[in-house]
């Protein structure tokens, strides 16, 4: 069963980005995006076993019920083909991440329901066009900590190193603007589930403005503003975050503290700062799987492999909050695992930098550049944390999107479920004025 298919291998030395801008690929190589590769850079063909089908254009429509704009189940006829639990784990380790294996060993009632692989990833036509342009014009700079010449599509559809893969992740396909409610729930070691917070959130992605261009783009790739509604003593608290490709100044954040009636520039809302939105149960950069700048780590592209990952998780994401959870984990009966080719990127602490999690392993879906799984290791190199990102198909964009993340602390036995969409409609919305995403706007709108 040891059948890891490493299609790409690079020595670590070649991956260490230099200060100079990294060259894009040639026009000839980029032309593969129309032939052997999908328009976003995945392998178009299926695998030899036939367990991964060829990409057929992705999911552009889905029938049936919706939560907001999100189809509840785009593949209602699919049934699990395999159930992996602690008992048969040994037969399937080659296709399970270390974190998934640890959960199977730790919780006897946890299991992985494997469904047929559905390559639902797609993007609007303008994103495909921009991705093709990016292939030959987009470069990393500032030692990989910034990019130039990119806009409106995957920046490095044919990536050459770990940093480029991570930029593909940070600049993955999103709608221009979206609005939803989310809940953060904390499950303690004894299995008690507590609502840490509920918020209304607005996202905007200037990188994907339909009328934008590489020349006019400000470099800010997302704008985010959210407003707490629960618990009551936090109601009205707001955070505005604007992330940019500016290596020196990658994040600007403002916080409205209802207790203070004041907006302040927020300090270090990122990296390994305990996420005060979730009452410290996870780190800020574990939100949505991984959120924020790349500068704390050195990024090594390990290669590509076939892995069982949470995918097309619309059922889990749209189920009622009480049905979305098992005792210590997301409800395995609602979770959908599929075999996909993933990029494996290993992050180790960059020289002179500090992070509570000195080593991480990222598993990113080749089709959508979404993060599926992330394992975190402590200073002794022991597996400490693992995150599951149940991405979901959003055919009206079309895109595969990721918002919720389940962050397991394997040593403490806790689960922080971040930005869960359960019982909350997810809506793709018209663009808002960018001044909506400012501290002053929050102050002007704050009623509490």
């Amino acid at each position: 069963m040891q059948r890891k298919t490493f299609l790409l291998g690079f020595t670590a030395a070649a991956l260490l980005a230099t200060g100079a801008a990294q060259a894009a690929v040639s026009a000839d190589e980029a032309a593969q995006l129309k032939t052997t590769l999908t328009p976003l850079g995945a392998e178009r063909a299926g695998n030899k076993d036939g367990t991964i089908p060829a990409w057929d254009g992705g999911l552009k429509a889905a029938a049936g019920a919706r939560m907001g704009d999100l189809p509840v189940n785009p593949y209602p006829a699919d049934k699990p083909t395999l159930k992996i639990d602690a008992k048969n784990l040994a037969q399937h380790t080659a296709r399970l991440s270390e974190g998934t294996q640890a959960l199977l060993k730790k919780y006897p009632d946890f299991y992985v329901n494997v469904y047929p692989t559905r390559r639902s990833a797609a993007a609007p036509a303008y994103v495909y066009d921009n991705t093709l342009k990016n292939a030959t014009r987009c470069k990393t700079k500032d030692a990989g900590m910034s990019v130039e010449g990119c806009f409106g599509g995957v920046p490095f559809p044919i990536p050459k190193d770990g940093t480029e893969v991570m930029w593909n992740y940070l600049l993955r396909v999103e709608p221009e603007s979206a609005n939803y409610g989310f809940r953060n729930l904390v499950i303690s070691a004894d299995g008690v589930r507590a609502l840490a917070t509920r918020n209304d959130i607005w996202w905007q992605y200037p990188y994907f403005y339909k009328d934008g261009s590489a020349e006019t783009w400000s470099g800010e790739y997302f704008l985010e503003r959210f407003n707490a509604t629960e618990p009551p003593y936090k109601a009205g608290e707001s955070l505005v975050i604007r992330d940019s490709i500016d290596a020196k100044n990658p994040r600007q954040a403002w916080q409205y503290l209802v207790g203070q009636r004041r907006v302040r520039r927020a300090p270090t809302v990122g990296y390994d700062t305990p996420d005060f939105v979730a009452s410290g149960a996870n780190y800020f950069d574990e939100v949505q799987g991984f959120l924020g700048h790349l500068d704390r780590y050195t990024w090594k592209l390990v290669g590509k492999q076939e892995l069982l990952i949470p995918y097309n998780s619309n059922v889990l994401v749209t189920s009622k909050v009480d049905e979305a959870f098992g005792k210590h984990f997301l409800n395995p009966e609602k979770m959908r695992w599929e075999l996909h080719r993933v990029w494996v990127v290993e992050a180790t602490l960059a020289p002179g930098k500090r992070h509570a999690v000195p080593k991480r392993r990222f598993y990113l879906d080749e089709d959508s550049w979404t993060l599926a799984l992330m394992d975190g290791y402590d200073a002794e190199g022991k597996l400490w944390r693992t995150s599951q990102v149940p991405s979901f198909a959003m055919p009206s964009v079309p895109a595969v999107l990721q918002k919720p993340a389940a962050v397991f602390n394997l040593q403490a036995g806790t689960l922080s479920a971040v930005q869960m969409l359960n019982d909350e409609p997810f809506k793709v919305t018209p663009r808002k004025a960018e001044s909506f995403f400012t501290g002053d706007a929050v102050a002007a709108d704050a009623a509490r």
Binding site: V186, S188, A189, D190, V192, A194, L195, A196, T197, T229, E230, P231, P232, Y233, A235, N249, Q252, V258, G259, Q260, R261, R262, R264, R265, A266, P267, T268, V269, Y271, D272, T273, P274, F276, S279, G280, A281, R354, A356, A412, T414, A433, E434, S435, F436, F437, T438, G439, D440, A441, A443, A444, D445, A447, R448
Partner: protein, 548 residues
């Protein structure tokens, strides 16, 4: 306090526990209106709080030979219970798209202040209040400290999009704060916008600023021009003073200020009754700000006119009465910046006040000017002053000592630039208005460092707030933020259970050279005091709360 009261505490503790425990598991009431644009919510926070005095009254603070006006609160309480109260905060919000309304109210009951007698000796001391025998709380004290309900916020708001610009307006009783100050807002632009409730600030150490701010009737508006530029302005239709602890209450700094105060004992032995307050105006307080962003820095420019919120006690030598004066038409201009340096939010603010009274809290003015007022013909000195605050907020990642931690620190500086009015007294009889003991500069600091521990037990998070206030330098002529070379130190233990229950235990210690506020210093012939007048008032407080 005496034994029956201790029994009462136990009863109240049990009652509060039962009340809290019986409450339904629901959190905020969110009404399902069937219309996703219409949102209604009603939150009720029930809080039980108790506090205990840890030291007996100290004669040097309470009953100095030269100052008989500072003992009513200090001596009303022996060691033991000083608060035994239940607080209810009720908040109702309604919102339809960009328009909404908010009404909130607070109600409280403190059994300590509802008793017939306190520990102040019934005989052997001059009267603390004219209508109430010593050893009892005045009716106004019983009401304000013991049982009261009031509206806080009551306003409507709305916003309209004007292309890429947005205009928001709110009208009614609401709180608005300009500038970048945190704890030491009295030294900043924020002082112009509104008063605070010092009773809650003292008696509920865990109270949030929203509970301490006293909203005023006003109209305010913001025009968001672009992500980098906005304008705001307000006009106030109401003036409210700082809410000082009522006379005879534990934190009352002097017997002649606060609700229920009606007499000031003169050094001659005569009792000066209180005459009408010289208040601020219903109109005429207004301000504006421009906020803009350049690079990684947020800037602000401010201008405001306000009427003082803190009283200046003035004894009128011609009538033998005293009154509390609130100076009108103080003008302030300032600028601020806020940015992130490394991993710390750093903000600075500087402002100038023109026509501000030069009589810091703790000063007592004696006048023989029969036509003194709180406008141009003041009995106290006026001047122009410079104010600066520098503050920082830092969040720390986990290490071996904590799972997370935050540091909020602020220093404040003020300087007397120019004395523009200095009424003179009568040599040998009435001191000059401007006290002679002030220094030109004053520097103070306040910080809270708070390590946090998550999931100490399942569903239980812990915080250990450590607070420090320091009067680093000087005797301010305008506003003494922390006593000279004194201050306060507090350490607390806050517990949060299942994100529903919050409980806190806090110990507060006051340090520095003790003395009354104000004191009569025969050597300098001035009443101003920069001593620690809470020197003997260390206390321990406990609170339990939950929101429904």
């Amino acid at each position: 306090m005496n034994r029956p009261l201790e029994r009462a505490t136990r009863v109240s503790l049990v009652t509060a526990a039962i009340l809290l425990a019986l409450a339904p598991p629901a959190r905020a009431v969110n009404f399902d209106t069937g219309d996703s644009d219409l949102k209604l919510r009603w939150d009720n926070t029930l809080k039980y709080g108790a506090a205990w005095r840890l030291k007996e009254a100290d004669a040097s603070v309470a009953t100095p030979a030269t100052q008989p006006n500072v003992d009513a609160g200090d001596m009303a309480f022996g060691k033991g219970l000083i608060n035994n109260r239940v607080d209810l905060l009720s908040e109702f919000d309604a919102r339809y798209q960009a328009f909404g309304a908010r009404v909130s109210g607070a109600a409280w009951y403190d059994h300590v202040y509802r008793q017939d007698h306190n520990d102040y000796p019934a005989a052997g001391h001059p009267p603390n209040a004219l209508g109430t025998p010593n050893g009892q709380f005045t009716p106004a004290t019983r009401k304000l400290m013991g049982r009261k309900a009031e509206f806080s916020d009551a306003f409507v708001y709305g916003g309209v999009d004007l292309g890429n610009r947005k205009l928001t307006v709110r009208a009614g009783r609401h709180t608005l704060l300009f500038g970048e100050t945190l704890f030491l807002g009295a030294n900043g632009i924020a002082y112009a916008q509104g008063p605070v409730d010092l009773i809650k600030a003292y008696s509920q150490p865990t109270a949030q600023f929203k509970e301490i701010a006293l909203p005023v009737n006003q109209v305010s508006t913001t025009l968001q021009v672009s992500p980098a530029l906005s304008f705001s302005g307000y006009y106030q239709l109401e003036w409210r003073s700082l809410r000082l602890p009522a006379t005879g209450s534990y934190f009352s700094p002097a017997d002649f200020v606060g609700d229920g105060a009606d007499v000031l004992l003169l050094p001659t032995g005569a009792a000066a009754p209180r005459s009408a307050d010289r208040k601020g105006r219903k109109g005429g307080q207004f301000g504006a700000q421009v906020r803009f962003k350049a690079g990684d820095v947020d800037y602000g420019l401010y201008a405001a006119q306000f009427d003082e919120k803190a009283p200046v006690p003035v004894v009128d030598g011609t009538t033998g009465t005293y009154a509390l004066y609130y100076q009108r038409k103080v003008k302030t201009f300032g600028a601020s910046l806020s940015t992130v340096v490394g991993e710390t939010n750093v903000a600075a603010e500087a402002s100038i006040r023109r026509g501000t009274p030069l009589a810091p809290l703790g000063d007592l003015i004696i006048t023989v000017n029969p036509s003194a007022d709180n406008d141009g013909n003041t009995p106290y000195a006026l001047g122009n002053t410079f104010h600066a605050n520098l503050s920082a907020i830092s969040v720390f990642a986990a290490n071996g000592l904590w799972d997370g931690a935050s540091l909020v620190a602020e220093t404040a500086y003020n300087r007397l630039l120019k004395v523009t009015r200095a009424p003179t007294g009568i040599p040998g009889a009435v001191p000059d208005a401007l006290n002679t003991t002030h220094s030109r500069d004053h520097l103070a600091a306040r910080l809270v460092f708070q390590p946090e521990y998550f999931q100490v037990l399942p569903s239980l998070d812990l915080q250990v707030p450590i607070g420090l206030g320091v009067g680093i330098y000087g005797r301010s002529a305008v506003f003494q933020l922390v006593p000279e070379k004194g201050g306060d130190l507090s350490i607390g233990l806050n517990v949060e259970y299942q994100k529903l229950w919050k409980a806190g235990l806090q110990y507060t210690h006051y340090y520095g050279r003790g003395g009354p506020a104000p004191s009569l210093d025969p050597a300098t012939s001035t009443n101003a005091s920069y001593r620690q007048y809470y020197k003997d008032r260390d206390f321990l407080s406990l609170s339990v709360q939950r929101t429904f």
